[in-house]
């Protein structure tokens, strides 16, 4: 009876009965009452009789446990103690009882012939056993190591690192990872942060370069990935054990749209000390029009409207356009403002001639499409610019081991969908052309049940996610997705995630059919997992494995918000100055304040955007040049005053 047996010490013995036989995939064993075995423990069985000259070894993971005594009926215990629980506690002898465990087979060595698990001695698995049991020996060999640490397996006082195969995590063999877990228990976001650190530290050079694009869809969760966390000694020990630096990400770039006013970025990462790697994310008409489908309601925009939008995309936007019906007017539509003017003129021309159609497009369709398209700029204020200018992710110059965070937490749902659709589509386009700058991109999307729900009508975003899930691995486009309720996500999206990770689960979710393969004990364990514990399914693992991962080495959203509080709304001039200071920290308000008196906000914003896109060396000069000579020539013009109304002649109080 040793409470802390050494790995080699005998733990139990395999048993089988006619009613409870062993099979090639499952076996039973008993242990002493104080054995350290628990649900999820990995064990090794040493067979008794050689098979073709080899003593078989079977590796299994405990999936169920039972305890019972020699009592046939509970009533016997009641009778034996005269219905008095106190007397039961004082009984001189405790009944014989058993700890009987059921284990699912992880691997049999040799693999053939595959037979029922034989009777034999059961031992705790050590590091080497865990490696063999999880078939990690296939991809951890020196020289061809493609292992990515996902955490440590702990069982019976043992601790062994568990690795995922990068060929099955990031492609090309398989790809994608899906995480399920209830909110607020540091599972989903933390696990992804830790895994990205692990990937960046261990992804083999022979497999190419890798970067990550994370969509921050709520709160400040991903806003401080470049700031260090306060780690415990135990966390640091785990980082050492798995060979991952306990440090925040070295290269992080943030992108956020502007607020509705356009003055400052719409992100919680607005503290002045953190602005060096925050850029604006703004798109013009050209960038948005090809994804108009994302924003337009299918019921609203029919085939006729589609045809008109295609016509506008191919024949109007970004080129010289002229039409006899519009007289000699030349159009060069580059912005939503230009487009609105174009629509206005076309419709006016049709009305003046009493024509119902123009170039086969009915006037009603024209009106409807105008309404929907022009409205995009309003629905996506801050993201979509009216002037056609764009500030985008650095497609084509992505850097190895870099994280690109797109903060869409404060955007409306439509705008979030637009950002998501366009960014992922651009990633895909570049990866297909091998022109992104890196070979693999991990795209992290939280709240997957919102973007790829299992029910509801087909959306552009869901179609795109399905496409990534099914074909992304060939391109190096890898989806790391997370949600609270896996059962509510489209089956093909989660089904194509080769690696599935589960944190603490909701009981109702576990009751859904998707979890029927799990034993009741595994479900109980999932429903009570502590922070930092995960259950992992991976193509190489025959059964799910429980692992512990360290706290991410990056600052949490809560801590970051405390240390770097977001700046409140500031006056328009101050916001402009703060933007420009990202390019030239020496810039002062005195140097640019005249423009605020001379020009309206739209003109100032246009100049600011142009400066931010150009990133000139002479920031002040470039910014002022955007206003032309007017800036020195024009005097401030006082707003015209309305004349006082004269007193009515019949006013009884008039003088």
């Amino acid at each position: 009876m040793n409470p802390h047996p050494s790995p080699a010490s005998l733990l139990g013995r395999v048993v089988a009965t006619e009613k409870r036989p062993n099979t090639p995939h499952q076996f039973h064993f008993w242990t002493s009452l104080d054995s350290p075995v628990g649900i999820g423990t990995i064990v090794r069985v040493e067979g008794r009789d050689p098979q073709q000259g080899v003593i078989p070894r079977i590796y299994g993971v405990v999936t169920e446990g039972e305890s019972y005594s020699d009592l046939i009926s509970p009533l016997h215990d009641v009778l034996g103690h005269d219905s008095d629980p106190e007397r039961a506690a004082q009984a001189p002898t405790q009944r014989a009882e058993i700890r009987l465990y059921t284990a699912a087979v992880l691997r049999q060595v040799p693999d053939e012939p595959l037979q029922p698990v034989p009777m034999g001695a059961v031992y705790l698995a050590d590091d080497a056993d865990v490696e063999i049991a999880l078939r990690m020996d296939v991809y951890l060999a020196a020289g061809t190591n493609t292992g990515i640490p996902v955490g440590v397996y702990r069982g019976g006082g043992m601790e062994s690192p568990v690795y995922l195969d990068s060929d099955f995590l990031l492609g090309p063999e398989a790809a994608h990872l899906n995480i399920t877990g209830v909110s607020g228990l540091a599972t989903k976001t933390s696990a992804v942060e830790w895994l990205l650190s692990s990937i960046f530290a261990h992804f083999p050079e022979s497999r190419g370069t890798v970067a990550a694009v994370c969509f921050n869809v709520k709160g400040p969760d991903l806003c401080y990935l470049d700031q260090p966390a306060t780690l415990s000694d135990e966390d640091r020990r785990l980082y050492d054990r798995m060979g991952v630096p306990a440090a925040p990400f070295e290269r992080v770039h943030y992108f956020a749209p502007y607020t509705a006013t356009g003055a400052s970025l719409n992100t919680l990462r607005s503290h002045p000390d953190l602005q060096h790697n925050v850029s604006a994310l703004t798109w013009g008409l050209n960038e948005v029009l090809q994804y108009a489908e994302v924003l337009l309601n299918k019921d609203d925009v029919d085939a006729k409207a589609d045809a008109l939008i295609d016509f506008i995309s191919m024949r109007v936007v970004g080129m010289q356009f002229q039409d006899d019906a519009l007289g000699t007017q030349q159009y060069n539509v580059k912005s939503f403002g230009d487009l609105d003017r174009w629509f206005k003129d076309v419709i006016a021309a049709m009305e003046s001639r009493n024509h119902e159609s123009w170039r086969t497009h009915h006037i009603a369709t024209m009106r409807k499409v105008r309404n929907r398209l022009v409205n995009i700029a309003t629905r996506c204020q801050g993201l979509v610019t009216n002037d056609g200018g764009a500030s985008d992710l650095p497609f084509g110059s992505f850097q190895d081991r870099s994280v690109y965070v797109v903060d869409v937490a404060n955007l409306e749902d439509d705008a979030q969908d637009l950002v998501f659709a366009r960014v992922v589509s651009k990633l895909r386009e570049h990866l297909e052309r091998r022109s992104l700058g890196v070979d693999h991109v991990v795209v992290f999307v939280d709240e997957l049940n919102k973007y790829a729900p299992g029910d509801g009508h087909e959306t552009y975003v869901r179609k795109m996610l399905l496409d990534i899930a099914e074909r992304g691995r060939y391109l190096g486009l890898v989806l790391f997705s997370a949600q609270q309720f896996r059962s509510q996500v489209h089956r093909r999206v989660v089904g194509n995630s080769a690696t599935a990770v589960y944190g603490r689960m909701d009981g109702d979710e576990l009751a859904t059919p998707g979890y029927a393969v799990l034993s009741p004990a595994i479900k109980i364990k999932l429903a009570t997992l502590e922070k930092g514990q995960l259950m992992v399914r991976h193509p190489h693992f025959a059964q799910p494995i429980f692992v512990k991962f360290p706290r991410p080495a990056v600052m949490t959203g809560r801590e970051g918000s405390r240390r770097f509080p977001p700046v409140p709304d500031i006056p328009f001039p101050d916001a402009i100055l703060r933007s420009l200071r990202q390019l030239d920290p020496s810039l002062t308000m005195a140097a640019i304040e005249q423009v605020f008196a001379l020009y309206d906000e739209a003109e100032v914003l246009k100049a600011r955007d142009a400066t931010m896109r150009a990133r000139p060396k002479q920031v002040k000069g470039f910014f002022l040049d955007q206003f032309g000579r007017k800036i020195v020539a024009r005097e401030p013009v006082a707003a015209p005053r309305a004349p006082l109304r004269s007193t009515p002649a019949d006013d009884p109080y008039g003088g």
Partner: protein
């Protein structure tokens, strides 16, 4: 039950030993079959407490003071015939289960176990016996006085003799374990059945024998009525059992459970102590041991059908020996 090895050996032997005919060992054991014809007896016994049998209340709620339980098992099966002589396979085993921290553990290295083919081998050829041993079957001589002189050759008597030999071997194992316990271990021993012959046992006040069956009743007339009317927690006066077949013991009856709704033997056990020890300890010793045995009423020995008289520790011994 017979092991596959024994059955396989028998199959081999059938073609090598002249006149050997296998028998079907399935069904009830010989112990069960022969007990059916055992005759009950009443016997007078010398009283050790007072002049007449009387009822003594046992002090209530005595602490559980038994530290170990000893029990043995036997099984005899008719497996073959050599002419008119039956061959009986017998298996005996005994174990002491020691109680530590309210849990039971096997005392010593392991239970003692023996098995052999019981027969009057001296009346057969040495070659036949050697063949049995060659096939891994131990042989055990059965000498019955009545059959040895040729007057009792009825096959049932020979079966009875073989079964008695098996029983003796079981008692030997129990005797051996009880002796070892008394010599090496402090604490008290609860024995299932009569006290064994071991000298050290009969010099110890730490061993009690508890008899559940009442084929022989040591009371007659009014004394028998008194014994069968004992109520829960009452014992009879002590009496002496003296026989040429065994060392003398002191004994008394004890009612473990309320017999209302049951027969007069329900919950009734008979306890044995070495006679000399009991005479020195007197009624107080009987009260003390009665209290300790009463304390073993829980947990119940269910599902064993003898649970009204069987201590859980004894059932545990049997479970161990059955495994």
């Amino acid at each position: 039950m017979l092991t596959t090895a024994v059955l396989r050996a028998l199959s081999e032997l059938e073609s090598r030993v002249a006149g050997l005919r296998r028998a079907d060992p399935a069904g009830a054991s010989l112990e069960v079959m022969l007990n059916r014809i055992e005759r009950p007896e009443s016997a007078r016994a010398r009283l050790l407490e007072g002049d007449a049998m009387r009822v003594w209340p046992v002090p209530a709620d005595a602490p559980a003071s038994v530290t170990a339980f000893l029990d043995g098992v036997q099984e005899s099966r008719e497996i073959a015939w050599m002419g008119v002589t039956p061959l009986v396979w017998g298996r005996v085993a005994a174990v002491i289960r020691e109680r530590r921290e309210r849990r039971l553990y096997t005392w010593g290295a392991a239970p003692l176990r023996r098995e052999a083919v019981y027969a009057p081998w001296s009346r057969m050829t040495q070659r036949d016996q050697a063949l049995f041993q060659e096939f891994g079957l131990s042989t055990r001589e059965v000498m019955d006085e009545e059959t040895a002189d040729g007057t009792g050759e009825h096959p049932f008597r020979q079966l009875q003799a073989a079964t008695n030999a098996v029983k003796q071997d079981r008692e030997l194992l129990e005797n051996s374990l009880a002796e070892q316990f008394c010599a090496r271990q402090a604490g008290t021993l609860y024995l299932d059945g009569p006290l064994p012959r071991a000298k050290s046992v009969h010099e110890s006040e730490r061993v009690v024998g508890v008899i559940k069956s009442h084929q022989t009743v040591y009371a007659t007339g009014a004394a028998l009525t008194l014994v069968l009317d004992l109520k829960e927690g009452e014992r009879s006066s002590m009496f002496a059992i003296e026989s040429r077949h065994r060392d003398p013991v002191a004994s008394w009856y004890l009612r473990l459970r309320d017999p209302r709704g049951h027969g007069p033997f329900w919950g009734l056990v008979r306890l044995e102590l070495p006679l000399l020890i009991a005479q020195q300890g007197g009624g107080d010793l009987a009260d003390t041991w009665s209290g300790w045995v009463m304390a073993e009423r829980s947990p119940l020995a269910l599902p064993d059908g003898r649970w009204d008289t069987m201590a859980y520790g004894i059932r545990n011994c049997e479970e161990v020996l059955r495994s």
